[in-house]
């Protein structure tokens, strides 16, 4: 057998994805073991620099891999599998159940790999400034590196179990980072909530894998896609199984990507540090659900029912989250609901069969939402930790770099033409029109108006008008350091560029779109979409800048409606009621006091009491009188003798 080093020396390209994957893990291990040694004194940020370096090196290698993929002809881009041959072992092999240690690099995973390492690298740099004063920096950066590793594993994993390890790993890191300031009760509660809600979705993913193994006999992503293509020629076969498989995976996707009704954890996840919100809860982890659906696109294409569920869950989530975002006052929570809403958009795209467009929106969203979150982090940094927009205002002149990058981010998500968000959102809506899914189109369009409105509201409330915080706070406002502004500027620049990339056609082979629609937009389409974006922005401009008394009057007039929105449609209340009434009270009242105390304890104690009673009765036989024993023995002997003599 050739040694590891021979293989690496002869074919470096074979190990590149492994190196990209394992570098962040190496960073995590080093930080775990030697973190305290690296952080010699309070002002030292060696840990952060190390963590940032490994991610940036991974990014560099990812660009290399991506470029080599681009160099291939489109027909060959179906995917390169990197089975781990260097150490000579399969991962799991039990009887016919075999899972190899394999990575899959195709256009889809290569693109996501770029996003994770690229945007992730920028957020690492940003964290250097944002977390500079936190004494737990080493722990923070080690978690961030661990997250990057698991996210890359999720993306590159060549079969569902490997993907699942990454899936669970990012969930773990999400939990650890939401609860990073665990001394704050709300933060540790939010971490637990995220973890538990995600478990529900993960159960779906596990069941889906079991079903796939049972029905299709493979868990390899590549082979599943092949299988799906074979099934496409005989649509009747396994129709129910395919639908069940897709719906189970979609349940997992709903948990991870915060779709109705499992969306409740994401707004609470804002308790974590802001760069974490940007990295995990906006740019990368929460899009894992969309990635999973796109990854299994060949399967989803076989099932009309599953696609319908995906589209409608996405559309309703998009609309619902956008309406809630209208009334939020916490700057990060607005962005959180905006993320939920945008994720809904992505599922909408997948559900109408435009998987490539959905991933395109994942791609652009990663940039502008990371930009917005990092910008809000810069605002919070400037406000010394204040997150309530009602106490901000007029920050435009005080923190100009943050302001201008934030304007770019807002314009992008609002869908202002020729910025990244415009292209991807436009393509989603166009696909809905071309595929004749008009109800979905109108929901999407209305959501676009709302998106433009609430994002402009955030912008105006934060940066325009007069400062509404205290005098001390106003005096304290300061622009962030360049480690934070640099990533903002880069991301803002990216917003002008990434939308023009032909992501959908690049992904074509990976999501195996059977027909490349030539999308012919109707005449009314483009003006309508433009109007939607500008209507939202102008509406917010009039309400929050020109007639700034108007919101309060509208609020008073529509009080019941506003209450519904502020209660977030009662999901949290309902879940809380379910948890406290059904689960807690049911457990205490029925399971504990009835079943456990009466039935189980009763059985156990009853068995003891029964033996005790019988023994009490039986022990009177032991009289202690020798002659009584002798009499019993005699009686026994006589009875035996009598039996032998007469009965036989």
């Amino acid at each position: 057998m050739r040694s590891v080093f021979d293989v690496i020396a002869q074919q470096p390209a074979l190990v590149l994805p492994w190196i990209i994957l394992l570098l962040p893990l190496l960073g995590f291990v080093v930080l775990c073991l030697f973190g305290d040694a690296i952080k010699r004194d309070e002002e030292d940020d060696g840990a952060g620099i190390l963590a940032t370096t490994v991610v940036l090196v991974s990014f560099g290698l990812a660009v290399w891999v991506f470029a080599s993929l681009l160099a291939q002809s489109p027909a060959n881009r179906e995917g390169l599998r990197f089975v781990q041959p260097y150490l000579g072992f399969e991962w799991i092999e039990v009887g016919s159940f075999a899972i190899s240690m394999s990575l899959l690099v195709d256009p889809l995973s290569a693109l996501m790999m770029l996003v994770v390492t690229g945007v992730g690298g920028l957020i690492h740099i940003y964290s250097l400034g944002y977390m500079a004063h936190d004494e737990d920096r080493v722990r923070y950066f080690s978690y961030l590196n661990l997250f990057t590793f698991f996210m890359l594993l999720l993306i590159l994993g060549g079969n569902l179990p490997l993907l699942f390890i990454g899936w669970e790993g990012v969930g773990l890191c999400s939990y650890l980072l939401i609860g990073f300031w665990f001394k704050k009760k709300s933060a540790s509660d939010a971490g637990k909530k995220a973890f538990i809600v995600n478990r529900i979705g993960d159960a779906g993913l596990i069941l889906g894998m079991a079903l796939a193994w049972n029905a299709f006999g493979t868990l390899d992503t590549f082979e599943l896609a092949e299988h799906a293509q074979n099934l496409a020629y005989e649509p009747i076969a396994q129709a129910g199984v395919v639908t069940a498989f897709c719906l189970l995976l979609f349940l997992g996707a709903c948990g991870k990507s915060a779709q109705l009704p499992l969306h409740v954890w994401l707004p609470d996840a804002m308790e974590g540090p802001t760069p974490v919100s940007a990295l995990i809860h906006a740019a990368t982890m929460v899009t894992a659900g969309v990635y999973l659906v796109a990854r299994m696109a060949p399967m989803f294409r076989l099932s009309e029912g599953a696609l319908l569920a995906v589209a409608w869950v996405g559309a309703i989530t998009a609309l619902m989250a956008a309406t809630i975002a209208l009334v939020q006052t916490d700057i990060k929570r607005v962005l959180a609901y905006s993320t939920v809403s945008q994720l809904g958009y992505m599922f909408l795209a997948c559900g109408i069969g435009a998987f490539g467009v959905g991933v395109f929106h994942v791609f652009t969203h990663a940039f502008f939402k990371a930009l917005l979150f990092l910008g809000s982090g810069s605002v919070i940094h400037a406000m010394s930790g204040e997150q309530d927009m009602r106490k901000m205002g007029g920050l435009r002149a005080k923190i100009p770099v943050t302001f201008w990058t934030f304007v770019v981010g807002t314009a992008t998500i609002a869908g202002i033409p020729y910025l990244a968000g415009y292209f991807s959102k436009d393509e989603i809506l166009l696909n809905a029109v071309v595929r004749e899914r008009m109800p979905l189109f109108w929901i999407g369009l209305f959501t676009a108006v709302l998106t433009a409105f609430y994002m402009s509201r955030l912008l105006f409330m934060t940066f325009f008008g007069t400062f509404r915080g205290g005098h001390d706070a106003e005096h304290h406002v300061h622009e962030s350091p360049w480690t934070m502004l640099g990533p903002l500027v880069v991301l803002a620049g990216a917003c002008f560029y990434v939308g023009t990339l032909p992501v959908d056609s690049f992904l074509g082979a990976a999501v195996r779109s059977p027909d490349q629609h030539h999308l012919e937009a109707p005449d009314w389409f483009t003006p309508t979409v433009w109007a939607a974006a500008f209507a939202g922005i102008l509406g917010a401009f009039f309400m929050y800048v020109v007639y700034s008394g108007l919101p309060a009057r509208i609020y008073a007039a529509l009080r019941p409606l506003a209450r519904v929105l502020e209660d977030k449609y009662g999901f949290d209340l309902a879940y809380d009621a379910f948890a406290s009434k059904v689960v807690v009270d049911g457990s205490a009242g029925v399971l504990w006091k009835q079943v456990d105390a009466s039935l189980i304890d009763g059985t156990v104690n009853g068995a003891g009491r029964f033996v005790d009673g019988v023994s009490r009765a039986a022990r009177t036989l032991q009289t202690g009188v020798v002659r009584a024993y002798a009499l019993v023995i005699l009686g026994g002997a006589v009875a035996l003798l009598g039996y032998l003599l007469w009965m036989r």
């Binding site: 032991q622 202690g624 009188v625 020798v626 002659r627």
Partner: protein, 101 residues
Amino acid sequence: MTIPLQHALYLSALLFCIGVVGVFLRRNVITVFMCIELMLNAVNLAFVAFSRALGSLDGQVLVFFVMTVAAAEAAVGLAIVIALHRHKDSLDLDAFNIMKW
């Protein structure tokens, strides 16, 4: 003149019954003990009689076993009797009634 088997068996049964009655009616430990010995020897007698009547040595072999066991029993039993006497200053069986619940 040979003694018929039946006579020996009658004697054996009689001795056995005397032993049983003694065990139940007497209260002195030593006497009860001797009655048990009597019962054993009644059985021995029956064995020997059968052995002779059937022309087989098996019965006599068994008698030796019984005698061995009886000797061991006597050793242990008398030791217990002495211990009991030291404990209670009495040989009355009814005094030894604490072996109960």
